[in-house]
Amino acid sequence: MAKIIVDGKEHECEEGQNLFQAIKAAKGRPLPHFCYHPALPVAGVCRMCQVEIEGVPRPVIACNAQVKDGMEVRTETDRIADVVQQILNFHLLHHPVDCPVCDQAGECALQDQYMNYGLYEASVDVEDKIHKDKVKPIGELVMLDAERCVLCARCTRFTSEITKTHEMGIFNRGNHAEIDVAPGRTLDNNYSLNTVDLCPVGALTSRDFRFKRRVWWLENTPSVCAGCATGCNMTIDHSEGTVYRCRPRPNVEVNSYWMCDEGRLLYHRLHDEDRLRTPVVAAEEGPRTVDWDEAYARVQSLLTADGGETRRVAVIASAHATVEELHALGRFADGIGAAKIGYRLEGSEMGEADDLLVSADRTPNAEGARRLGWSQFLGEELRAQASSDTVLLVLKNDFAAFDENGVDLLSAYAGVVVLGTHQDATMDLADVGLPVLSYAESDGLFVNEKGRAQELHASIAGPESARHAVVVLAELGRLLGKEFGWEDPAALRRDLVATEAGWGALATGIDRTGVLLDVVSDGAAIGAESGSEGGGE
């Protein structure tokens, strides 16, 4: 432990800690900076975070200094203000000041620092400025504007230290120095959009988000990526019912500060053409859109055999559904005595893992499903349940896209009811398709492959007539004369914590980094004893 004095106030920190972080902890806000990033090696190039240290004649940059016991640091003297302003002056000397067309405006470090420390008269005419590349696509998803760059080297450090792909570099020197991709290269790795997040200014902007929406109109909802089992924490930026972009949310336990491009761009699916917006029922000429009452009437008729008695039900769960939805489905199935088939075909939805974030399992909640007692299923199990006296209920599962035999088998069922978000392959085969809310539109939990339960929050409202899957399940239960008594995911979560073992960690609430669930023995159904002995937190 070491004590330092920051602006006259004592602060406890670790000996040898990075001074920048120590000051950030002491003051509650960071020093002005462009190049410092906690997950990247220190570059010390922007010179903005200068502080005065007692006994050191000249101001030093805090990001490249280490804490020493008894160190006395001053960050708010006139001298520092003057130094920072002059440094900022250099940064802005050849900046094009094209904030009106710049997507970074509103979340731009240059703008912020200028308002805090600048406010001087510019000394260079617009005509005298050095001109560099503008509007240069350097990759599938990233646009470069070299004039706006402050040469903080975050992007080059990211490509050389994190992805180790080395696409980017700083070329030329002096006034003419600029970032770019190396000749013949493009910024095309799966993490390229992280450079856009890293870029403190508008030099690197996302071609996906470009000009779509001003950032100050975006609302931010913390959520979790549904792209794979890693469960990267992300922020959904949305406005007026439309998601405009997703950004990684720092969580050192899961994804550090990063997120893959694939996961970021997943939000496009939310607004796809083939999003299921109203209930559909199968008709001769193809799916026909109907209202909920008619859809439920159709479900009712499917459930009623010719003789008048109620048919059997088999349910298929999904690793794309939230914990609450899966729990609701489980209780639904138990309540009406339905056969529980499982959450996915063995091995389907597995892709390639990389060594950074992407998991081979491309479903977000396989671990959650497993912990709730669902198992993976084989085409055989589907066949075993198939009979003309059974109705198949599918929750958010597009297994038909992965198994051709399964497709054939579906016709053996008396009827297929699918609760889904899109008009996908399974939905095409359904007798009744019911639109439910997607991961971005509902609250819920995903459990990632390491057993960390993380919260989703509803960001946008979703299609007007879509309902939450647990609500639909409750209503379907009512059709079968069964009252389940839950109304929303929160009620189900309470029920889950109260009734099932292994979820006790949720009882005290979840913070933004999620909570690690108790370890369970692999593949086994959760028993009371295994739940109590775990202790992974």
Partner: protein, 189 residues
């Protein structure tokens, strides 16, 4: 600079590689090859530096000795041989002024333009050279032989105006002296 290089890169695969009669191969380390004595020097360089990154600069010098300038494809070859990122190689090439990515000609006339030489009349010399050779500043003549370039101080302030051609200094320049030198080089070819 990046634009130029992007334009230049495709030529490596097609015309340039073919012109140099190097066997077209998938292995980028075999795109070019040094003469035996430079190959020996290369070995020395690699051995001398603790990391490969440090070897980039002398390696590039070696290339420039071999071919006079960094022909298209050479930086890539350097990166492949040293197993360093190509971006690092280009960062270095673009940072330093004496790595040539364009052919500087047989005789690269580097006239000092710093204060001592300038006061002694280097500006006139430069202008005279350009006029005589029919080229602009930093331009190579049509035959690829002469190029006029202004450089910063070369440490011969007492002998200005001066210029450097290759590794030779020519001092106390006058227009006549320059004319003579050029005539001589023209004769030498």
């Amino acid at each position: 600079m990046s634009e130029e290089h992007q334009d230049a890169v495709p030529e490596v695969d097609a015309s340039d590689a073919a012109a140099d009669a190097v066997a077209v191969t998938d292995d980028p380390t075999k795109a070019f090859s040094f003469s035996p004595e430079r190959e020996k020097k290369y070995e020395e360089i690699v051995r001398r530096y603790p990391t490969r990154l440090s070897a980039i600069m002398p390696m590039l010098w070696l290339c420039q000795d071999e071919w006079g300038w960094l022909k298209p494809g050479v930086p890539e070859w350097v990166a492949a041989r040293l197993e360093v990122p190509i971006s690092r190689v280009y960062e270095i090439i673009s940072f330093y002024t004496m790595y040539y990515t364009e052919n500087p000609g047989t005789y690269n006339l580097q006239v000092c333009r710093n204060i001592s030489c300038h006061m002694a009349g280097s500006g006139k010399i430069t202008k005279h050279l350009c006029k005589k050779l029919g080229v602009g500043l930093n331009e190579t003549d049509s035959e690829g032989r002469f190029r006029v370039e202004e450089v910063e101080c070369l440490g011969a302030c007492g002998m200005g105006p001066m210029m450097q051609v290759g590794k030779d200094f020519y001092e106390h320049l006058t227009e006549e002296k320059v004319d003579e030198l050029i005539e001589q080089w023209r004769r030498d070819g």
